[in-house]
């Protein structure tokens, strides 16, 4: 299967989405990511039983924090995709890429660029 996904996406591998912490997602934005999405296994199919369910709640919490500071919670999403479902992975990547493109650059990235230019 040769599938392509947008090259705007950087993959950070973790053993399980249960390992995704609020600070990890926040720091991705602070370092200039325009959007972040967490991809976990299908609900009910976590190898560690509840890793992806915990991740979902942490994503929800982080979205609220991002809203609070005006970065925008809609820049963060969680998807559940079966490990074997390559086509869906590519589809989600495109979907997220389009969504973030429509939202435009994050206000943080703008600030980082201004700082560099100064």
């Amino acid at each position: 299967m040769r599938l392509t996904y947008p090259d705007s996406i950087r993959i950070i591998r973790l053993p399980c989405t249960g390992k995704v912490d609020v600070i990890l997602m926040m720091e991705a934005f602070r370092k200039g990511a325009d959007g972040v999405y967490v991809v976990g296994c299908l609900e009910g199919e976590c190898h560690y039983l509840t890793g992806n369910l915990r991740a979902k709640k942490k994503v929800e919490y982080t979205k609220k924090l991002l809203d609070e500071i005006g970065v925008g919670g809609e820049r963060l999403e969680m998807y559940n995709i079966a490990a074997s479902d390559g086509p869906r992975f590519a589809e989600v990547a495109k979907e997220m890429h389009e969504k973030i493109k429509a939202l435009g650059p994050s206000p943080i990235r703008g600030a980082l660029q201004n700082k560099e230019a100064a």
Binding site: I23, L65, I69, V71, P107, K115
Partner: protein, 222 residues
């Protein structure tokens, strides 16, 4: 433990409007257990504050430190050598810790990062509930180990009131009626006859009504 929750970020930002460099201080005890002001929450808040400032085209330097406790001289002293480097301190300890910090470092503005709520327990992961109001004269011995001062909305000492319905309190259907809990436990203990004993009028002067309280142990004092 003392239960607290993070203040809205807007409110925290408002405190430090003119700051360039702040010290964000967590506490390793109560507020760590209730996920309001431990090392992790310090990290998250630092990241959020920096971003909020960046968004406004400003820069905020945030130094993070989490002390063992903020209600003891010994640990608070650990930041004495660095405190003067900062425009302000935001403490994520309970109100006790924030105040002790402010008392100790008189020349540095100290702001609270959490709202301190109550003394309570972890009922389940992510759920904390009130259990004691520090009334200064504990009556748990007469109430089957269940505190009507903190758990009865009306603080009745001889309850329940007429609003107790199906074991729930009239102010909120989710809330157990403390007196129902007391009766159930007395029954379980085979001590229901104790329910008939009237609890005398409580001396509230040992509670906040008597002004700020203090404990002095001469045998320990230096």
């Amino acid at each position: 433990m003392i239960v607290a929750e993070r203040k809205p970020i807007d409110e925290i930002i408002e405190f430090m409007r003119d700051c360039k460099k702040i010290l964000l201080v967590g506490c390793n005890e109560c507020v760590t257990v209730c996920y309001a002001g431990g090392k992790k929450e310090v990290e998250i808040l630092a990241s959020a504050l920096k971003m909020a400032f960046m968004k406004e085209g400003k820069e905020l330097e945030v130094e993070e430190v989490t002390l063992e406790r903020q209600c003891d001289h010994e640990y608070l002293e650990e930041i004495r050598k660095i405190i003067d480097e900062y425009d302000a301190v935001v403490s994520l300890a309970c109100g006790v810790g924030v105040q002790f910090m402010a008392e100790k470092y008189f020349r540095t503005p100290v702001f609270p990062g959490v709202n301190t709520l109550f003394m309570g327990v972890t009922e389940e992961r992510g759920v904390w509930a009130e259990r004691c109001q520090g009334c200064g004269k504990c009556i748990l011995g007469e109430t089957a180990g269940i505190c009507p001062v903190s758990r009865c909305a009306k603080r009745l000492l001889n309850g329940p009131c007429g609003g107790s319905t199906k074991g729930k309190c009239e102010i909120n259907k989710e809330l157990d009626c403390a007196w129902q809990l007391i009766i159930d436990r007395l029954k379980e203990l085979g001590m229901l006859e104790d329910y008939e004993k009237l609890i005398p009028i409580k001396d509230w002067s040992t509670e906040r009504a008597g002004g700020p309280r203090k404990v002095v142990r001469e045998d320990l004092k230096q």
